[in-house]
Amino acid sequence: MSFSGFKEVIEEGDTVILYIGVSQIYALEVKPKVINKNGQGVDNVFQTKYGSVKVMDLVGKKYGSRVNLSKGWGQVLYPTPELWTITLPHRTQILYTPDISMVLTQLEIGPGSIVCEAGTGSGSLSHAILRAIGANGKLHTFDFHKERVKVASEEFIRHGFGDRVIVLHRDVCDEGFGVEGVADAVFLDLPKPWDALPHAVSAIKTSGGRICSFSPCIEQVARTCEVLQSLGLQELLTLECLAREFQVKSISLPRVINGQKAPTHQNTHVSQEEKQPDLKKKKVEECVEGAGSDTNTKSDEHEQIAAGNKGQQGNGDFRFTTGITQLKMPGHTGFLTFASVPPGLARNKLSCVA
């Protein structure tokens, strides 16, 4: 229930976020029993790298408080669509926050908005839309995969969004959205968005609205844009956004020439290099002790560049704080194409295209 409103104390039925480290974040449903692989109901105990937690023990704790694990500790964060996006069970490829946030702004979604979405997928975008439309808005979300519709629908209800969402099993390309002239915005994440576009325009209010299509391949984008133009849509815009995260690190670079040409210094440097494996080991130990701290094990290797940046340091080392980029980052998620349906767009056109 916690997604749709605010509270201070964890109750049964809430979904909470357990934060242990930057790469260990989990969404937990606060309920006494879960179904295991063999279909049996068992006590809801969540296992982490740093030990387990009885999820029902969270009831009564304040959001933001520390939770003891058998071999460490974590923190319970208030659930947000952004945290849900990085913890949700993947039933499909999902949209991430850089794209999601752009969709919300470009589609101009706000409290009271009526939005259509196809497909529902894993519900990553849906959660952000549901937050944005508020209690008086409505999200019509569609998926052609029956099982996904069922799971998503239950999830929305558990998260307190039941009143503002309608989830349907439907192929919008063939059957349309089943609503006409009601939507402020339509979002499409479909293999062949062009088939759904005429229906999308029909779903939009006669006073106009916004449409977005997300496609991974440029050929899909090209065809989408052609159809958008042929339907008379305006303000076509195709863009792509990629987030680049930085790890904040203190670096200490050894000097090769230390003002004086002292070869002894080089040995100091080398011994630092050798210490790296120990440092790493130590780091892991720290993790166990203080699991909740931001020990960013993800790219510890990067430190090796620094040639021993945390080991025994030369006196003249050049020290600085820097934001280290990821060695590997998401290079592409998809292209976002936006367009406006102008007010009073002739919709009789649609039948010829469809």
């Binding site: 605010f6 408080s65 919300l104 009271g112 944005a132 090209a222 305006q234 987030a243 930085f246 931001d294």
Partner: protein, 492 residues
């Protein structure tokens, strides 16, 4: 649920778009407005023809006199790319001697002034270009687009939205909004978890109030948004351009950073054993400006300052307030100057326009004595007196906020430290800066205030030209749209 206004009405703000040009304007009948830079591209419009039309409509510019146009709604606007015909195979025979256009610039202007439509002018221009037919289709289209921007005669009138305001500011000058690009702004909004029904706070400076306006847009009519500002005035330029209803504006209250209430260090109350099962979802609307709980903030205020703060909180007379407004060399005034440039100038009523600025200030004061603003067609800017604002803001902050946003071009770290204590544990904060360095420093400093799950990021935004056989990323891009540090506050 507020009724969405979909029609262009007297007194509302509209955004006039002509090609890539976009500018805001408050419509009054009978007036005319000058757009564009002095010189060739400048034009003056009477917008009466738009009144009563739906937002998003396109209009034909009809010449009334030299550079003066009235506008008429177009029912089925088309983007005319049809001048482009099958071009030469390639540009092997093209001579770039700058003499390919037979018409002189003067002749072209004469053509325009003779009353030819933009499309007709372009047709004449291309016909008089000795190289046009030898250009590749690609080059032809570039040529036509360029000319169309210059001589085209269609405008579209949009409802002001965050998307378009950001677009307008960023196109005019990214530095006007501290280089806060649309993708960065969008992510800021998401990571702040701002939504209807919660208490939120924003410190904004140097971005025309755009962040505040964007948060307000996400909140509708439910919840509280406190804008903490520094300097003499709140940052609300974009807020005023969004045509918010009074009901929507009631969500927003302002408080000067020097008047912040003392922060109850909420965390200390529940640090070790957070087992109180009391559901405190509905916090009380206490109006106390001084709290009784112990202060454990990193930077406790000394008593002198508190006294000063209280002194400033006492209501001041309209007169002294106005004096303050006009005499102070505040950043706000500078921004207002910007804004005057930004709002298109009313040609005939320039003085009146300036008066309008003044009367807005008067609005604020007259509201204090309960009077209605003199121009009913121009909505009230301030729905509360300054004293009420401070009281409301203090109350909201003391209840605790569910999301904190700091977006400024100054050093943000002190502000973050000042406001973090008001943030409910478990909830999110986002800090925007045009520079990475202060945020790197903040990254470690905020941890001592309970910051966790922190990320420092920038985004790449790439636009694409999607055209048949001519699809490619845009030739120019923004080199950077600022940096975000976001995370969650937890109990220590």
């Amino acid at each position: 649920m507020p009724l969405k206004k979909n029609l262009i009405e007297e007194g509302c703000v509209v955004m006039v778009q002509k090609g890539a040009y976009l500018k805001t304007c408050r419509v009054f009948s009978g007036r005319s407005y000058t757009f564009g830079k002095r010189g060739d591209g400048q034009f003056t419009l009477n917008l009466d023809g738009a009144l009563g039309c739906p937002f998003g409509s396109s209009f034909r510019m009809d010449r009334v006199s030299n550079k003066m146009f009235s506008i008429t709604k177009i029912e089925n606007p088309v983007i005319s790319l049809d001048i482009v015909t099958e071009g030469g195979v390639d540009n092997r025979d093209l001579q770039d001697d700058g003499r390919s256009q037979k018409l002189t610039p003067d002749e072209i202007i004469t053509l325009k002034n003779k009353g030819l439509t933009g499309k007709e002018v372009i047709q004449v221009i291309t016909e008089n270009s000795s190289t046009f037919k030898d250009k590749t289709v690609y080059s032809q289209e570039k040529y036509v687009n360029k000319k169309q921007k210059k001589y085209g005669e269609t405008i579209t009138i949009h409802k002001p939205t965050i998307r378009l305001l950001n677009d307008m500011y960023y196109t005019q000058d990214p530095l006007k909004i501290a280089n806060l690009r649309i993708d960065t702004l969008s992510q800021l909004l998401c990571h702040s978890n701002v939504q209807a029904g919660g208490n939120f706070a924003v410190f904004e400076s140097g971005s025309q109030g755009l962040v505040t306006a964007a948060m307000l847009q996400r909140m509708g009519t439910v919840g509280h948004l406190v804008q903490v500002y520094h300097g003499a005035h709140p940052q609300r330029e974009a807020v005023d351009l969004m045509n918010f209803s009074e009901e929507e504006l009631l969500v927003l209250s302002f408080i000067n950073v020097t008047k912040l209430p003392e922060a109850t260090q909420r965390d200390s109350l529940t640090t070790t054993t957070a087992t109180t099962n009391t559901n405190t979802t509905t916090t009380t609307n206490s109006n106390t400006t001084t709290t009784t709980t112990s202060i454990t903030t990193a930077e406790p205020m000394d008593t002198n300052e508190e006294d000063e703060t209280r002194k400033e909180e006492t209501p001041h007379s309209s007169k002294s307030d106005e004096q303050k407004h006009t005499n102070e060399d505040s950043e706000e005034n500078l921004i207002q100057k910007d804004n005057e440039k930004l709002d298109c100038e009313s040609q005939e009523n320039k003085d009146q326009h300036v008066n309008g600025k003044k009367s807005e200030k008067q609005d604020q004061e007259t509201q204090k004595s309960g009077e209605q603003a003199k121009k009913p067609s121009r909505p009230r800017k301030f729905v509360r007196t300054q004293v009420e604002d401070v009281s409301m803001s203090s109350s909201v902050l003391e209840q605790g906020i569910m999301g904190l946003v700091v977006a400024c071009r100054q050093y943000p770290n002190d502000v973050v430290k000042e406001l973090m204590p008001f943030l409910h544990p478990g909830h999110s904060f986002v800090v925007f800066s045009p520079y990475k360095e202060p945020l790197m420093e903040l990254y470690s400093e905020v941890r001592t205030l309970g910051g966790t799950n922190m990320r420092l990021s920038e985004t790449w935004l790439r636009h694409y030209q999607v055209l048949p056989q001519r699809t490619h990323p845009a030739i120019n891009m923004s080199g950077g749209g600022g940096y975000l540090l976001y995370g969650t506050k937890v109990l220590k």
